[in-house]
């Protein structure tokens, strides 16, 4: 299961006040304390360091809280701005607190201008350092996010590659069903034994079919012209087998036939029309295949006048589901496969995909 919940991601608190951030703040506070103490001989170094630490931790607290709260900001306030604002407000308050703690009560700035100068120095230095460190933290966070996204993207890509491989494997397994092959061979044998002159013609169709249908392992696409040859060979074989039950026509526009497409695209549609439309029907029917090109898109249409979309229970879909997957892998959302019941009976199967540019 993968979905993004808007509520905080796991480990959010640990991230906001993570050890990395605390370490950076401790180090910066130490440096700030030492720096300010150089200009002030009257106050011990350790006191300055303590003050700087309180300021640093206060700023970190404000920065972290503003990162998560409120959950939703008005659209015109950027989260980064909100966080830096919180930091700028928090530093003088934390500096005041630091003085309160280190002098043990009201620091009495009015009576003690030296203290006020120290307070001002601490505040300004805190804001100055704090802003830089805050910005740094944001950049770092964005980089982490980008890295995470890149990783997620990479993961998705490898997932797609795996799916493509799966689809290919299923395609290889699905090709040339033994049932079809043996039935066709039985027909060829019958013709040979009857001494029919059609035997060699049928063998010719079978050879053309097998040559195209037996997988060429390095091919990931064929042209529609090849697909059309394959489909003609297949339909001729089927007509030999069921001469009284199958008529067909195949037509194609010249512009479309050199277009490349995933292998077996056309054959899957036609096999499906035979298997689920014509074969289950006692009277059989027609299959009309047409390929056309329009507005840079290629459209394949297979109409059959068979039994139509029948109630559940037949295995319709394995071949079409794999075809759908292969089209998606090849064209993404640009490809479409639709199956519609025809008003005159039977099914219309359509596949549409963008034609590659000539130069490609």
């Amino acid at each position: 299961m993968s979905f993004n919940a808007v509520t905080a991601a796991p480990g959010a608190v640990a991230q906001v006040f993570g050890w990395h951030r605390v370490r950076v703040v401790l180090f910066a506070s130490l440096a700030l304390g030492l720096l300010i103490s150089v200009g002030s001989a009257a106050t011990p170094v350790l006191v300055w360091i303590a003050r700087a630490l309180i300021v640093g931790l206060g700023a970190l607290m404000a920065f972290g809280v503003a990162e998560r709260w409120p959950v939703r900001l008005p659209a015109w306030v950027g989260r980064w701005f909100w966080q830096l604002l919180a930091l700028v407000v928090a530093v003088p308050l934390a500096a005041l607190l630091a003085y309160w703690v280190t002098v043990g009560g009201n620091p009495q700035f009015v009576e003690n201008p030296a203290r006020f100068i120290g307070f001002a120095q601490l505040s300004f230095a805190g804001i100055f350092f704090g802003l830089w460190i805050g910005l740094g933290a944001m950049v770092r966070q964005r980089e982490t996010l980008a890295r995470d996204q890149a990783m997620a993207f990479e993961l998705e890509r490898s997932e797609l590659a795996r799916q493509a491989l799966d689809a290919r494997m299923r395609l290889l397994q699905a090709q040339v069903q033994p049932h079809f092959l043996f039935n066709t061979l039985a027909n060829v044998q019958a013709l040979v034994e009857a001494g029919s002159p059609r035997a060699s013609e049928v063998l010719g169709s079978l050879i053309r079919y097998l040559r195209a249908a037996v997988p060429r392992l390095d091919d990931s696409s064929t042209t529609l012209a090849e697909e059309l040859d394959l489909v003609r060979a297949y339909l001729e074989l089927m007509r030999i087998r069921m001469p009284d039950r199958l008529q067909f026509s195949v037509s194609a526009e010249v512009e479309a036939i050199e277009v490349s497409c995933p292998p077996m695209t056309l054959l899957t549609l036609v096999e499906n029309a035979v298997r689920h439309g014509i074969d289950p029907s006692e009277d059989g029917g027609r299959i009309d295949v047409s390929v056309s090109a329009q507005d840079g898109r290629c459209r394949i249409r297979v109409d059959d006048s068979g039994v139509g979309l029948r109630a559940t229970g037949d295995s319709l879909g394995t071949g079409l589901a794999t075809l759908r997957e292969r089209l998606q892998l090849a064209f993404g959302r640009e490809a479409g496969l639709r199956l519609t019941a025809r008003e005159t009976g039977g099914v219309r199967a359509e596949v549409e995909f963008p034609m590659p540019r000539r130069s490609a």
């Binding site: 299961m1 993968s2 979905f3 993004n4 919940a5 808007v6 509520t7 796991p10 033994p178 049932h179 092959l181 043996f182 039935n183 061979l185 039985a186 027909n187 044998q189 019958a190 013709l191 034994e193 009857a194 030999i240 087998r241 069921m242 001469p243 009284d244 039950r245 074969d279 289950p280 029907s281 006692e282 059989g284 979309l309 559940t312 229970g313 037949d314 295995s315 319709l316 879909g317 394995t318 079409l320 589901a321 759908r324 959302r333 490809a335 479409g336 496969l337 639709r338 199956l339 519609t340 019941a341 099914v347 549409e352």
Partner: protein, 260 residues
């Protein structure tokens, strides 16, 4: 069975294979009279009733009524021989059930065996095997091998036309009394369809790892979820990828969206 010449019926939807079997039988069993040839299961049963042949050669795979179904209608009134192309399930079942069967392309030697067995049975005037139970089992078994696949497509009305919708294209399903409305992608574009099946019945056939019920009347495809927003009072809203609809998650289904 006193008549000297045995009679036979051959049923196959492929005419060349009918003729081939007639020719092979003429060699293997010259006395046999092929009195009828049928193109499908319905014709086979009709011609059997009309002519009462002693032996029926039935192709398993025929349009309309299959060979197995026709055999059940003929019952033990004839000696049955099944003919099938390469079909592992059927062949296994025939072998286990001690039914006579031939595998296409039919080999003369194998046919000679079958003919010898048939002749013996006819000579001994043995009644044909009572195969009803066996055939029933076989029929359900053959049906199961084709129907067991998980639901991948549903037939639904889109406007006036009937469409076949890939289950993967469905974003969510919403119960609409006796109907279920199907929100799906028609080539990427959000669309709506109606199916005349209660949601409960439909959900039972869907892949439970992708389709989850989130509300009494809503089932969502997890792959279509973009974000889940927590609301007040232990509820949440589901926002979908590329769709404007917002789906409610009711309290009893909220546990599905707890953080891992």
């Amino acid at each position: 069975m006193n008549s000297p010449a045995a009679t036979a019926l051959i049923a196959d939807d492929e005419p060349l294979l009918r003729e081939a079997l007639v020719r092979l039988l003429a060699n293997a069993w010259p006395q046999l009279q092929v009195v009828a040839q049928a193109r499908n299961g319905r014709e086979a049963v009709e011609q059997f009733e009309a002519l009462q042949p002693a032996v029926c050669f039935l192709d398993v795979h025929m349009p309309g009524i299959s060979g197995v179904d026709a055999a059940r209608l003929i019952g033990h009134r004839a000696h049955l021989v099944f003919v099938t192309a390469f079909d592992q399930y059927a062949v296994e079942a025939f072998a286990q059930g001690a039914l006579d069967y031939l595998v296409k392309p039919v080999e003369p030697a194998r046919l000679a065996d079958t003919v010898r067995r048939l002749k013996e049975r006819l000579r001994a005037a043995q009644p044909a095997l009572n195969t009803e139970a066996l055939l029933q089992e076989l029929a359900t078994r053959l049906q199961r091998t084709t129907a067991a696949a998980p639901l991948r497509w549903i037939r639904a009305s889109v406007g006036q036309s009937l469409r076949l919708i890939a289950v993967d294209d469905i974003d969510f399903l919403r119960s609409d009394e006796k109907y279920t409305s199907v929100a799906w992608r028609d080539g990427g574009a959000p669309s709506e369809a109606l199916i005349r099946m209660p949601l409960k019945e439909l959900v039972a056939q869907l892949d439970a790892s992708h389709f989850v019920q989130v509300h009494r009347s809503v089932v969502v495809n997890l792959r279509s979820v973009s974000i889940v927003k927590r609301g007040e009072n232990e509820t949440a809203d589901i926002h979908l990828k590329g769709r404007s609809e917002v789906l409610p998650v009711s309290r009893s289904y909220l546990h599905l969206f707890r953080q891992m």
